[in-house]
Symmetry: C2
Subunit: 200 residues, 2 copies
Amino acid sequence: MTIAPEEDRLNAQIAFAVEIDKLKRVIRRNHLMDGSRRENDAEHSWYVGLLAMILGEHAPAGTDIQRVVAMLLVHDLVEIDAGDTFIYDAEAVAAQADAERAAADRIFSMLPGEQGAQMRALWEEFEARQTVESRFAKALDRFAPILANHHTEGGTWPLFKVKASQVREKVRIIEEGSASLGVYALELVELSVARGHLSE
Amino acid sequence: MTIAPEEDRLNAQIAFAVEIDKLKRVIRRNHLMDGSRRENDAEHSWYVGLLAMILGEHAPAGTDIQRVVAMLLVHDLVEIDAGDTFIYDAEAVAAQADAERAAADRIFSMLPGEQGAQMRALWEEFEARQTVESRFAKALDRFAPILANHHTEGGTWPLFKVKASQVREKVRIIEEGSASLGVYALELVELSVARGHLSE
Ligand SMILES: [Ca+2]
């Protein structure tokens, strides 16, 4: 493997920087907390990255929070090509894996070799959920839309006819990353049910 | 100083999380790189945070990049109250300091005491530009809109009648944080002048 000269490295990094601007145009299902519009992947990535900094004490002791932040800043880049998948659409979720892998091949390989490999490794770690860092990162990724839905009269839940049982199942992913956030998320779910914003 | 019980801490952190969602609705002057719309502060914060990870090797040796990332994720939170200031509007920039300080008082004090102080310290460090981390962070904050303008036929430059001499002055802030990014930014500026997207 040859190391690219310094100028080539910077040019590759800038090309990557121009490419990832597209994440600002990938639209998610959930809305902002004032209900004004749907959220995009870039602002979502900022939000969960900052949540990791704020809620880090609710991860298991010894969790490397800075790695969690890094993981969350890159976790959705593959959606530039593959698009956002609604987690309650089981068929779409299954088809998504191949598309995301192809996207990772294209996008991370724009960077200089070892740097692209490092970024891709963060994404693979996030997806595999085998480390405390990735389990906490995924927990925050699931926690954020529950918080948003709770603050927008159910948000995507009534809109896409999602049932409380389905949401409770997703809360397990949060519990696996953070016991206290899992408890808190379940309380939000039950409160939403009680208010009639989420149906059994 | 009393330490809040665990549940109160989490409630305070969640109230902060709900509050900062508003950053997604603070609109900046510059446009996305496809020119489709103006950028918001939340997606901008994600973008520069990820730029720090990608361009970290262009900071002085020994720069703590993870601290730079953290700083960039919080650097615009005060704009929830104070709004975005166009850096070429000297009068507005002068009036902004007090408004941002009042915003910092309100927003960071929503967090548990020592955590709010830590987050505020990151913001103060960013503003003061006395450390290599804050100088590199500020360099990226200035670099991103130049890259965006360069990719949108001058973007905000012709729109707000900004002159090349003014942009070259702003490039000095980039040079102070990263010699190589300073050189690169100046090349973008001269290229934009040559293409007629920025006037002398
Ligand atoms: Ca700003």
